[in-house]
């Protein structure tokens, strides 16, 4: 199987190791990974700010880069949510619709398409807190949400993580409350954003877990920024890094 | 009536295309013990249920509300100490009002009162203590069943009362009373005579 890999701009620049882990993990699972070199971004930073006109060309560039792939994979729930559900700045073409229909967040792709049953190369003998992003929960339904208490509980991300040898997963209070990143919100409402991030770290910290794992690096970038200011002892890892056996 | 026409015209000209009205099921599950459900629900909002009706209601009132001298009764089971109310603010001086409800709701611990039970309906909210007689046969399972009661088609005023007046407006802690009754006691008591009295 061949997939088109989308690496979000912030991973490209700040967390290249997450992109590397994604490539290696997919390859270990027998997937042929193709990274279109002309890619930049999904357009979300502009569209999320209301600037549809400014998002249009970026979205259309994305469509051109990825229209030819049967499967498109990105290690970012936020970008995938945008591309799948909110890709309306680009002209409505069959190509745009195809791209929206074929994009997968990495955990979804592992869980639903590859049905990956084990990660024998990975071992992580630590207690981790799993932060599943709002986009992944309420946009992509990768996990049931606390707002709907009568739904059967499930978490695609957690079930993947539980397959890693030696890992234990911490339960923390308000697990699916937003961490406060919110794209441009993190700068337009920086005080509230940072307060939310610090509250999240406080709840995670109370469990004793010092590893925070997420499949949304943008949430982690924000939390890491909050943590560096106050608490030096957290480690932040993308789900792909843990599943790839990068860190032990 | 220019405003009326303007508003209705604006709605007709520019409102969304008509959507269907869904059918509302009654969501009945037929639980065995409506009395227990009722009692538990009422307790949630700090109302009290008396499941074994006292043999002598008059005596029960005297024992339960020892300081109460001004008692208003709208039921044949007990005599009040006050003449009928002279005005709508008059119940403010009442210690205990006794009334029979035509309907209890197990889901929410609510009882229904209208002007048929209390000609001066302010007695349901101004009295210090409200004692309500409920025939277990008048219990309905849930709110859907409750709203089938004819009072909701006919009564000038109908209240589903589910506990004594309370407020959580200060610091989120529920306290009693706010502006309404201080206590609500529901006595599960079959009707002895048909019909209800009036205040």
């Amino acid at each position: 199987m061949r997939v088109g890999l989308m690496i979000p701009c912030y991973i490209d620049m700040f967390y290249p190791q997450v992109g590397v882990a994604t490539v290696e993990l997919l390859e270990k699972l027998g997937v042929e990974v193709d990274y279109p070199f002309d890619q930049t971004c999904c357009g979300q930073p502009m569209a999320n700010s209301g600037a549809y006109m400014e998002a249009k060309e970026t979205e259309e560039l994305f469509v051109r880069n990825f229209a030819g792939y049967e499967h498109i994979v990105a290690p970012s729930g936020s970008c995938v949510h945008h591309i799948r559900n909110k890709f309306t700045a680009a002209d409505d073409t069959p190509e745009r619709r195809r791209v929206s229909a074929r994009i997968w967040d990495l955990p979804e792709f592992l869980h639903d398409v590859l049905k990956a049953g084990e990660f024998p190369w990975a071992e992580f003998p630590h207690e981790v807190a799993l932060h599943v992003s709002c986009s992944a929960i309420r946009g992509l339904y990768e996990q049931s949400m606390s707002e709907r208490p009568n739904d059967l509980w499930f978490s695609k991300q957690r079930s993947l993580l539980e397959k890693v040898k030696g890992i234990s997963i911490a339960e923390f209070d308000r697990p699916d409350e937003c961490c406060g990143f919110g794209g441009t919100f993190s700068v337009t409402e920086e005080a509230v954003s940072a307060a939310m991030g610090n509250d999240k770290l406080g709840r995670i910290g109370a469990t004793g877990a010092r590893y925070i794992v997420s499949s949304d690096m943008s949430c982690l970038m924000h939390l890491q920024g909050c943590a560096h200011r106050d608490r030096e002892d957290f480690h932040f890892l993308h789900l792909a890094q843990v599943l790839n056996g990068d860190a032990t | 009536m220019a405003a009326r026409e303007d508003i209705l015209t604006a709605i007709r000209d520019r409102g969304p295309a008509p959507r269907e009205l869904p059918h509302v099921p009654d969501f009945r599950q037929g639980p065995d013990d409506l009395i227990s459900l009722f009692t538990a629900a009422l307790a949630r909002l700090d109302g009290q249920a008396v499941t074994q009706p006292p043999a002598d209601l008059q005596r029960w009132l005297a024992e339960t509300f020892p300081g109460a001298s001004r008692i208003c009764s709208a039921v044949p089971e007990v005599a009040g100490t006050l003449p009928p109310f002279s005005g709508w603010a008059a119940p403010a001086d009442v210690d205990v009002t006794v009334v029979r409800t035509p309907l209890g709701v197990a889901e929410t611990g609510s009882i229904l009162l209208t002007e048929n039970e209390l000609a001066v309906t302010t007695a349901a909210v101004l009295a210090q203590h409200l004692v309500v007689l409920l025939d277990p046969a008048d219990l309905t399972e849930n709110i859907h069943g409750a709203y089938q009661h004819p009072a909701f088609q006919k009564a000038a005023y109908a209240v589903l009362l589910s506990g004594p007046s309370g407020s959580a407006d200060i610091g989120g802690t529920t306290v009693h009373p706010a502006q309404g009754v201080t206590t609500l006691t529901v006595i599960l008591s079959p009707r002895t005579t048909p019909g209800t009295g009036e205040l």
Binding site: I7, F14, T188 | T121, V125, Y147
Partner: protein
């Protein structure tokens, strides 16, 4: 009016740790109680769907149901009035009071009368207006608008209320005990209720088939306001109409559970006709509602039943405080309704959200709140409400991100990465990100460079890691 700077107001609230933590704890507690209440109702999601469908049906047949309600209420002996806007509403209420020679008005909580700013209107004309809802009365005594639509005074701590009552009523300012304080209020307010010339309520629902105005209170103060004085006035937003009692049942089951986690309020009251010897007036109010109804994107916001669940769940609301919005409706529902009323004044509100979607999923009538917030951002741009710097920043970002070569050049120029991210968004304050957070360090080698070096295949070889700082020629990958 100057645009409300919600972010700045929120910062002031956050700097006050006592209030921020107390508020978040109290309001999140309501969210948890709501979850527990929903969990015990097996048909909860079905009820939400029904409620949404009933509201959509009623709103899409609103003229019919308003006429039905009017006819039935009139037959019941009430007088029905229509008001196009806040001023007409206030004038109608004042005229009714004047006609009855009423000087003293008691009222229960009504967001509509807040929206119409009725209290100052009547007070300027010599009417004494007393709020009978405890929380609303607290706000009235402190000359503040509500901080929450269900518990107007929740932004105050018990200590604040004790001080306030001490100041206003001469009670013990040190005694921060809710039971004592509620008692103080009862002692001071009940005489005003008993002496009032007129009483006023809002409406949680107005039932078309029966002409009944329905109020939902814990205190029974709508019953006191509506039944003790001879003259009763009910202000009803036109979107509050529902078909009949069978439909009402759905909303009664959802409303209180969504608001506080209780199954029902103590008093669920139905006022269908004037009490014996009394008169009843109903004022049906538009005040922008028909305009919203005409907007195919935003009309579903009219389904709102004012439960406050979206506020309780909103992490931004809980950390900003309700007053930070400078609005009658705050939190998520405020973000999508206030701009409809005044787009300039409330232009920043749609940005006071992380669009996390929690609000939409607790909403008992399934309003797509977070999607509407997102759409309002676009409207603000289209309406020219973006500042010149923001517009320029967006243009710059859009331009850079749609041109692979230029983007590569910026992304791979080492520290220059920060010129792209997260700097692209820093248009209102320099380095807002860094005020409470550290900025991530750009990697020595981008993923793009790594891929080209390790998996590049046909692509030209990259500079090795650490030496790519001046590698503007890397942008040529896009052309390969």
């Amino acid at each position: 009016m100057k645009p409300v700077d919600q972010a700045r107001n929120a910062l002031a609230f956050l700097e006050d740790d006592t209030h921020e933590h107390a508020f978040d704890k109290l309001i999140w507690g309501l969210r948890e109680q709501r979850d527990a209440a929903a969990r015990e109702v097996g048909e909860w999601e079905e009820l939400r769907t029904l409620a949404s469908q009933i509201k959509e049906h009623t709103l899409s047949n609103l003229a019919h149901y308003l006429e039905l309600f009017e006819a039935r209420a009139t037959r019941n002996g009430a007088q029905v009035h229509w008001a196009r806007d806040a001023h007409e509403h206030n004038q109608i209420v004042y005229d009714i009071l004047s006609a009855h020679g009423a000087q003293r008005l008691v009222k229960s909580k009504s967001m509509l009368t807040e929206e119409c700013e009725m209290r100052p209107f009547l007070e300027r004309r010599g009417i004494q207006v007393t709020e009978t809802d405890l929380g609303e009365r607290i706000q009235q005594l402190d000359d503040q608008p509500p901080s929450h639509i269900v518990g107007p005074g929740w932004q105050k701590t018990t200590r604040d209320v004790a001080e306030l009552f001490g100041r206003v009523y001469g009670s013990d300012p040190e005694r921060a005990d809710p039971v004592y304080l509620a008692h103080v209020m009862r002692e001071h307010t009940r005489p005003l209720i008993l002496q009032a010339d007129a009483g006023m309520t809002g409406a949680n629902f107005a039932v078309a088939q029966t002409g009944a105005v329905v109020t939902v209170t814990n205190e029974g103060n709508a019953d006191l306001s509506g039944n003790v004085p001879k003259l009763r006035i009910c202000s009803v937003g036109i979107e509050k109409i529902i078909p009949g009692p069978a439909e009402l049942a759905v909303f009664i089951r959802l409303l209180t559970r969504s608001a506080t986690g209780e199954r029902i309020t103590q008093y669920t009251s139905h006022f269908a006709a004037p009490r014996e010897g009394g008169t009843m007036h109903i004022v049906l109010v538009d005040n922008g509602r028909t305009q919203r109804l005409a907007d195919e994107r935003f009309w579903p916001s009219l389904k709102c039943i004012r439960c406050g669940a979206c506020m309780n769940t909103c992490p931004v609301y809980r950390r900003s405080g309700g007053l930070s919005y400078g609005a009658t409706y705050m939190g998520p529902i405020g973000l999508i309704t206030m701009p409809a009323a005044d787009a300039r004044r409330y232009r920043e509100l749609p940005f006071a959200s992380t669009i996390n979607g929690s609000c939409t999923n607790v909403c008992p009538v399934q309003i797509n709140i977070h999607e509407q917030i997102y759409q309002w951002r676009e409207v603000m741009d289209a309406n020219g409400e973006f500042s010149a710097t923001k517009k320029a920043a967006m243009k710059l970002a859009g331009n850079l991100l749609s041109h692979p070569r230029a983007y590569r050049a910026a992304a791979e120029a080492g520290g220059a990465a920060l010129r792209v991210l997260p700097h692209f968004a820093i248009y209102n304050r320099l380095n807002a990100w860094g005020r409470h957070r550290d900025i991530p360090s750009p990697a020595k080698e981008t993923f793009h460079q790594w891929y080209a070096r390790n998996r590049g295949g046909a692509h030209p070889a990259e500079e090795p890691a650490g030496e790519a700082t001046a590698g503007t020629e890397d942008a040529d990958h896009g052309r390969a």
